[in-house]
Amino acid sequence: MASVELKGLGKRYGEAVAVDNVSLLIGHGQLVCLLGPSGCGKTTTLRLIAGFIEPSTGEIAVGGKVLSSPQRTVPPEGRAMSMIFQSYALWPHMTVAENVAYGLRIRKMDKATIDAKLTAILSTTKLEPLAQRYPGELSGGQQQRVSLARALVVEPETLLLDEPLSNLDANLREEMRFEIRRLHDRYRYTTVYVTHDQAEAMTTADQIAVMNLGRIEQLGTPKEIYDRPRSVFVARFIGGSNILEGKAVDAGHISVAGGTLATTGRTLTKGEAVAVSIRQHEIEIATKSDSANALHAVVSRQVFLGAARDYTVVLDDKTELRVTASPTQDIAPGQEVWLRLPAERCRALTGGNER
C-alpha cells in the first residue's frame, strides 16, 4: 500500500479543460471521494490515476514513484491498481470464478494459491454459491459484488471506484455503500472513489474532494464539508443550503434584505458583496421579532412531511428560502414571520459567482 499524490494535474482536450491544476494527497489506507456533478472532471481525474489517459500537465506519484507525467506514463497494467467500473465490466464469456481469478492468473500464481485466495474472497463477498454462474445470469447487486471481489482479490496498492453504485436500485445502493466501507475497513487499501451522490460520499469517505469545473473546490472530512462549506458551489451541492446575498457592513456583519446579520467563517471587507449559506433546518421560524440576526419574511408555501414541515418563505428582497421546521409549527401561507438565523450558522462564502 502506498499514498497517492496528484501534483498540479491537468488534462486538456484541445481548448476544453477537463482537469485543471488538481493537487491532492491521499494517505496510506485512506478513502477519498471525488464528488461533483457530471462534467466536473472527476472521472477524468480517476482515469488519469488509472493510467488510461496521460496528463497534459502535472504528475501522479504513488508511494513516491512518479507513474504519470506528460513525458512518461506507466500503462494501467503496470500500476498494481484495481478498478471497479460503473458498468462493472464483467467478462461475459467467463464464469464468476474465472472473472475473479483472472488477475491472479495474470500474476502467474500457482493453482493452490489461486484456489485459496478465490475461496476466501468469494466467502467475504458472499459469492460462493454463484461461482460457476455467468455474469449474464446474475442480478445487478451480485454483479457488483463480483466486480468488487475481482478488484480486491489481487490485493492492489490502490483501489479505484468509478460511480460503482449508480446502476443499482435505491435499496441495494444503500446496502452496498456500507458494504464498500466495511471492505475498506477490513483491507485498508488506498482508495479513490468517484461519485456524484452526496450521501454515498458521506457514508464511505474519510475525505471528500468536491470538484467543479475541473478543479477541487474544497477538500475535507464529510463533517467539515457539510458544516463549513467554503464556496457557494459546495454549499449548494452538499445538502440543501440557502444562499443569502448581501453587502459587508464590517468584518463580521452583512446587510441583507433590509436587516443585518452577524456571520462567521471569514473576515469580511467592508463594502464587498458577500454570499452567506445557512442550512434549511438551522433557520428557526418565529411569529415575532425578539432576537438579533432575524429577518422579516412571508410564508409562500408549506408542506407537511410527517417528520417535519417544509416551508418556503420570501424575504423582503424577494429571495426565496427553504426552512425545515417542526411538524407542530403550522403557519398558513401569506402570514408574516421572523426568521432567526444563528450567527454561528451564517457562513460567509468565497467565490460568489460560481454556482
Binding site: P76, E77, S82, S87, A89, W91, H93, G103, N167
Partner: protein, 579 residues
Amino acid sequence: MAVADAKIPRSARDDRRRLIDLSGPALAAVVALLAVMIVLPMGWLVVYAFATKDGQATLGNFVTLFTDPSFVDPLLATLLLSVSVSGLCCLVAAPMGWLAARTDMPLARTVRTLVMASLVTPPFVGAVAWEMLAAPNSGLLNQLWRLVTGAPSDEALFDIYTMQGLIFAIACYTFPYVFILVANALDRMPGELEDASSMLGAGTWATARRITIPLALPTLLAGALVAFLQALNQFGSPAILAIPAGFHTLTTKIWSLFQFPPKPELAAATSLPLLLLTVALLRSQAAILGRRGYAVLGGKYGAPRPIRLGAWRWAAAAFALLVLAMPLFLPYAALINTAFSRISSQLLGPETFTLHNVVFTFWQLSSTLPALQNTFLLATATATLGGVLALLIAYIVARQAVVGHRILGFLATSPLAIPGIVLGVGLFLAYTRPPLTLYGTLWILLIAFITVELPQAYQQLGSAFHSVHPELEEASRMLGATRLRALKDITAPLLRSAAIATWCFIFVGVIRELSAAVILFTSETKVLSVLIFDLKESGDVGAIAVLSLTMVILTTVVIVIANRIGGAYEARVPTRVGA
C-alpha cells in the same frame, strides 16, 4: 390494408373495428401472395426432385447425384471452394477488422469506406476483372511479369482459371462481410472490458488473447459461415472462372442442366442439397450469434481505447491497402483499362485511348438498350412493389396487428435461405405450366426479384418499426387521432427515411442480381447482369468492361443517395446469399 381505408369515421372505436374487420382478408391476401412467390416454387422443386422425366416417383435423381462423377465432382469442388473461401476470408478479415476497429492504424476510416465500396462491386464483375488481370496469356499482371523477368510468352505467374484462382476471386468479394461483422462487433464491445483486464495487470497481448479474441470469436465464426454461404451459392464467379478451368460447382452444374437438352428433374435434385445446407448453416449462424453467455451486459460503457501500434502503424495501413488492392484497385484499373484501351491487353496511354468501346456498347450493340430498359423497369417495379409488401408485413408483425403475424414474418424471411439459382429453378418449374405461364415474360423475373429482395427489405423496415415505439402512436391517439391519422402523422414521417433507403437497396439488389435471372431470362427479357454474362460467350471484353463500369456507377449513385437519406448499408450486408 389500412391504407385503402381512408374515409373512416372519426370515432376511434369505430376505426378499430373497421381495421380488425379488414385485417383477416388482408392477412389472407398477403399469405397467398407469399405462397405463390415462395411455397409454390419450392413445392414444385421437391416434386421434380423425386420424379422421373415421365412423372413417376423415384429416388433415381439422388442416386445419380451421389454416384455419377459428373455430379459428385461438382459437389466436392463446391465444398472445397466454400471451406477454402471461408478460411481465407477469416484469415484476412479478422486481423484487418481488428486493426480498423481497435488500433490507431492510420486511414482506418478510409479502409472501412473502401471495404464497403468493394461490396458494391457485383462478384461476377470482379471475376471478369480478375480474368483481365490474371488470365494466363492476356492477363495484365502476367504480361507485366513477363516484361519484367523476360520469361517466355507461354509462361504465366498467375492462372485465374484454376480452383485457387476461383477461391481467390470469390474471397475478394466475400471477405468484406466478415470484416464488417468483426469490426462492428469490436466496435460494440465495451472498452471497459479491456480496461478491466489492463487494471488487473494484463498487458496488451494478454488482454487481446484472453478477453478480446474470445469475445469476438462467435462473431468470427458467424462470419466464417457467411463466407461459406456466399461461396456455396455464388453462380457468377464460378461460371466465369470454373467452366473455362474445366470443372463445375453445384450452381454452375444446375445452370448447365438447363442448357440443351434440359434436365429439370436433375436440376431440382441438385438444388435440394444446396437449399438444405443453406438452411442448416443459417440456423447455426443464428444460434451462434444468439448465445446468451456472450451477450454483453447492460450499463454505461465508455469508448474503447485504441491500441497503439507504434512503429507498426504504417505497416498495418499498408497491409490493409494491399488487401484492398485485390477487390478494388487492381480490378477497377483493369476494367477502366479494358474499357478505354484500343486493345484490352495493352496498357492505357495517350496513344491507345479510345471511346470506341463506349460508342459500340451504347450505340451499336443492339441488346444494350433493351437490357437497360428491362433492368430499370424491373428494378423500379421490384423496389416499389417489394417495398410496399415489406412495409405491410413489417407493420403487421411489428404492431402484432393480427393473429398469425408470426407466420408472415417467417415467410418473409424464408427466401434468405433460398439460393438465387435454386429460386430460379423453382420458379421455372412452377411457372412454365398453366395456370400461370409466366416464363418468357418480365413477370417471372419480377416475382424472382421481389422474392430475393423481400427478406432484407422486411428486416430493414421491421427494425425501423421497432425503433418507433408504439407509445408514440398511442400518445397521438390519446390526443384524439384515429389509428390511421396516427400512422400518417407520427409513424409515416419517422419511417420515411428508412422506406426510401429500403427502396434504394432493393433497386441496387435487382441491378446486381444474376443467379436467378440467368435461369429465367429469355432473349426478350435480358437484363444488364445477364447481358454481361452473355457477352462473355462472344468474348467482347470491351463491351463487358463498359457495361460493368456502368453497373457499378449506377449502383454507387443509388447507394450514396440512400446513405444520404439515412439508411445504413450494414443493415443488409451480412445476410445476402448467392448474388
